[in-house]
Amino acid sequence: MVVRYCRARLGRVSGQYHIADDVAQEVCIAVLSALPRYRDMGRPFASFVFGIASHKVADALRSSVRSAVPTQDLPDGPDDGPGPEETVVRYIEVEHARRLLARLPENQRELLLLRVVSGLSAEETGNVLGMSPGAVRVAQHRALARLRQMAELESA
């Protein structure tokens, strides 16, 4: 869930998720480091994890440097991945999603990512964002309606 969250927030660089995956790793290390200080306050553990993840992603966004990404040696063998056309179609659709999400208020964007990409429940999402479950339900409905409206406008 953390990896997916970081990937959705940070996106690809040079076609890869290296930076997002590195941040996800940092999140896991930070969670492990913070565990001794963790106290069960009745909130889902996920809210503790994604609270850390949110900060790590924000740090990464602030210090994002689109530098060259070191890669391993050139692959020598068949590529089992999708073909170039399918890859491009996927890429376009995902970038479209990112572009529209970027036009949402940050809170709504974060809410949708936590609900869909990370798969958190409304209650868990509310705990991460400091919202009541009822407020989450209203906000997510508005966010979805707005996203739907933007998508339909662009496709019209």
Partner: protein
């Protein structure tokens, strides 16, 4: 500004909640909901390349909802797939 609901169906907020729950589990999006399709695509992309499939539902979405829908019917995925099938063999 709230609207009074007179029907017996679920409230719009409940429908959105159920939809987001389903997308969060990796279930295929409704064909006629562009926002749901985009969110599902984003989720599927975040699951790729790192073996991030977490359960059977995610795997099903990966196989059936994004890349390998076999019905070729009204599914937008089917439309994408048809373009892929035009890849020349030589």
């Amino acid at each position: 500004m709230t609207q009074e609901r007179t029907g017996a169906g679920p409230a719009p907020e409940d429908e959105s909640d159920a939809l987001l729950d389903a997308l969060g589990r990796g279930e295929p999006p409704p064909h006629d909901d562009p926002a749901a399709r985009l969110l599902a695509a984003l989720r599927a992309d975040a699951c790729r390349d790192g073996g991030m499939v977490e359960d059977g539902m995610s795997a099903r979405t990966w196989d059936d909802g994004v890349t390998r829908t076999g019905d070729g019917g009204a599914s937008p995925v089917g439309q994408r797939r048809s373009s892929v099938s035009m890849t020349p063999s030589t």
